[in-house]
Symmetry: C2
Subunit: 151 residues, 2 copies
Amino acid sequence: MKTAANTDEKYMREALKEAAAALERGEVPIGAVVVETARGRIIGRGHNLTETLTDATAHAEMQAITAASAALGGKYLDGCTLYVTVEPCPMCAGAMAWAQLGRLVYGAADPKRGFMRFGTAMLHPRTAVDAGVSAEECGTLVSGFFKKLRD
Amino acid sequence: MKTAANTDEKYMREALKEAAAALERGEVPIGAVVVETARGRIIGRGHNLTETLTDATAHAEMQAITAASAALGGKYLDGCTLYVTVEPCPMCAGAMAWAQLGRLVYGAADPKRGFMRFGTAMLHPRTAVDAGVSAEECGTLVSGFFKKLRD
């Protein structure tokens, strides 16, 4: 039986593929996809490219939001769900607020760098939020990356 | 006599030129420049392009940060000052935090949309902040734009 939870995991697997692509480039492995909620169509993808582009703003979510807006030909993503492997930072949450994102689903929490330090007031009031989807897999990818850097 | 205040006003005039360029395109007139603090050299410029690019992330500061990082070949802007005509939003403040910006100077306050709702904890702990430079001119440009839209 296909449930909403299955669907979320399915799209989170797509975000995880993006995170794997970041890892291959030596980037912090975080990935994101934007899905048109009603049609279930992926309209934007992105992975962290801050080192590759030497640009601190080149987070997975920023790429995915820009790509989705280009695909839609409009800057509002109220009919969309953004899946990202790790809790967004305040920059990315702020971008989601401007885009009036319909729904945010994230995997692993990031208590140190995540936007939740500032609360959901950082998002648009109509943005629904679900956390913890495939959290262990998403988190292990990042913690493994940093462990390897330290070793 | 050349004082620090003169210098700030001089670079804010450059940010205002960017804001004027946004206005010409029918964009909310906000502009920014990034200056290498020690050399006084402008290494990044940007103006709001959210409508032109149909991208909610295309704020003046984001363009200027990306341009400055490209000019320096590095993603850290700790030796730089960013001048922007209006108080940055949380997205842009979050970008400044990642870039470890040395100093932020803004013109008009934006109590409704600005990052100061969440406090300076949004910025990097070493980022100095000065507000109110050419505030009236910066603010009038934006309020005039919205007044014209309503008329």
